[in-house]
């Protein structure tokens, strides 16, 4: 049986532009949620998001390169760069056909879409910029990463809303496990904080307003939670077949040992207990772990009333008595809901928690909710050796992806 290990990791988030800064923010409960700066949000009822602070593409890409990169693809490339650098890998020419990329995005090139439609409808333009399609397409980030690193193997994009990068990593994991590739970059990127997108989300009535205090706006599992907060960024992991990694003396951050996927087949926005529970059991089965062996769950934990109470029921349904013994936290309280990037960033958080024996907290937790009565690691990071952990992603549309990681060594 081919085993898959994580040998590189990169993130680009509101609370850290690399994995070390990201984890440092997580462990001190630092929130990156602020008033929106990419456009004037005054007209919106929701004026906050977790944006990359002070982002300037000139710091990362020459002008000619920027012309063809939407913000989401830029984020994907930046995170991929860190994943490659931290892995220390050099892919030889003859290995390229077995080096692939799977990346998720919920919204694709939302900013370029918005700009294009603005010129078309508001400014009455009669033609659109010819780079619009290559920038907005969902696979743009995947393709740009393939070109940057000469990855010529299996490559695809996933678009399962909030689960996009969970599914992307699961697909990449199985491509290696079942012999179609040896090395995969996997994760996701999203940049959905545009005027149009914020209007769309605002109307669903699932966003937290912040009430004048953006940094505490996202309060997963807390009784006074108000909803989710939009984020942006990217997360990418380098996955590698175990013997390929050991032969080159790679540093192994953790083992990706299971992935469960399921569909609620029930409602377009309302989650079920059964769907996510089946995904968790599938991940446990694939990795060969009993529920009692799970020490930590990085929750989907969006901070909406319905998600958090349902996810609590899911954990109880799968783990029974053990549900009260394991630690659960939602790092979205700090980096926001990064949509198609969130599962990947959260898996990086989970792997770093395994590696260092420090569980990041659920920030902004103020009061217990009778419907959310488990251990959510409130507000303070916890030092605790953990061996096996899950990262949950449950999307609008009822599409679920659960990843299981094991500590290495």
């Amino acid at each position: 049986m081919r085993r898959v290990v994580i040998t590189g990791m990169g993130v680009f988030t509101a609370i850290g532009k690399n994995k070390e800064a990201f984890f440092e923010s997580l462990t001190r409960g630092h929130s990156g949620i602020c008033r929106i700066t990419q456009f004037d949000p005054s007209a919106l009822s929701i004026q906050i998001a977790a944006e990359i602070p002070g982002y300037n593409p000139d710091d990362y890409f020459p002008a000619k390169r920027q012309d063809l990169l939407d913000r989401f693809a830029q984020f994907g490339l930046i995170a991929a760069r860190e994943a490659m650098e931290t892995s220390g890998i050099t892919v030889k020419d003859e290995e390229r056909p077995r080096f692939g990329v799977v990346m998720g995005s919920g919204m694709g090139g939302a900013g370029s879409f918005d700009a294009g439609y603005h010129s078309l409808y508001a400014c009455q333009a009669t033609r659109l910029h010819p780079f619009t399609i290559p920038k907005i397409m969902h696979n743009a980030a995947t393709s740009q990463v393939c070109m940057e690193y000469g990855a010529q193997g299996p490559a695809l994009s996933t678009a399962t809303a909030c689960s996009s990068s969970g599914h992307a990593i699961g697909e990449a994991f199985h491509l290696i496990k079942f012999g179609m590739a040896d090395v995969m970059l996997a994760g996701g990127a999203d940049a959905p904080i545009t005027y149009g997108m914020m209007r769309c989300w605002e109307s669903v009535r699932v966003l937290a307003s912040g009430n004048g205090n953006p940094s505490t706006a996202c309060r997963p599992f807390s009784a006074d939670r108000e909803g989710l907060v939009m984020g942006e960024g990217a997360g990418i992991l380098l996955l590698e077949e175990l013997t390929h990694a050991t032969k080159r003396g790679a540093r192994i951050y953790g083992e990706l040992a299971g992935c469960g996927m399921s569909s609620d087949a029930s409602h377009i926005t309302q989650p079920t207990v059964d769907g996510p529970a089946r995904a968790i059991r599938m991940a446990l089965d694939e990795a060969g772990h009993s529920p009692e062996e799970i020490d930590y769950i990085n929750a989907h934990g969006t901070g909406t009333r319905l998600n958090d109470s349902t996810e609590t029921q899911v954990v109880k349904a799968v783990f029974k008595d053990h549900a009260r013994k394991l630690a659960i936290s939602s790092t979205k309280s700090m980096h926001g809901h990064m949509m198609g990037a969130t599962g990947a960033a959260e898996l990086v958080a989970t792997v770093m928690a395994l590696e260092r024996g420090v569980i990041p907290p659920t920030a902004n937790y103020t009061q217990p909710d009778p419907e959310c009565d488990l251990d959510y690691v409130p507000n303070q990071a916890r030092e605790k050796p953990i061996r096996v952990a899950l990262s949950n992603s449950f999307a609008f549309g009822g599409l679920n992806a659960v990843l299981l990681v094991r500590r290495w060594g």
């Binding site: 020459p62 002008a63 000619k64 033609r127 910029h129 010819p130 780079f131 290559p134």
Partner: protein, 96 residues
């Protein structure tokens, strides 16, 4: 400013090139202009001059001088069907 100068200026701007590197005799290949870049340059010219450049003409442009000549003819309202005919069998600007 004649069409040639404007074409050179726009090509330099869109390709992020030093303007001194772009001459009337430069070919797209020499300037590293690929098929998608070519479409972008035509878009910039259309926007600049508020004109429509027919696809068949667009497909025939492989050098600065060709672009300038075609642009001049379009601006003068001349028949460009011979350019279209020349482009027959040419490679489309983009595929897929």
């Amino acid at each position: 400013m004649d069409a040639g100068e404007k074409v050179m200026e726009i090509i330099a701007r869109e390709q992020h090139l030093d303007p001194s590197k772009v001459t009337m005799d430069s070919t797209f290949a020499e300037l590293g202009i690929d098929s998608l870049d070519g479409v972008n340059i035509l878009f910039a010219l259309e926007e600049e001059f508020k004109i429509d450049i027919p696809d068949a003409v667009a497909q025939n442009m492989k050098s600065v001088r060709q672009v300038a000549d075609s642009l001049t003819r379009v601006l003068e309202g001349k028949d460009v069907s011979d350019l279209a005919a020349m482009a027959k069998g040419g490679t489309p600007a983009v595929s897929n």
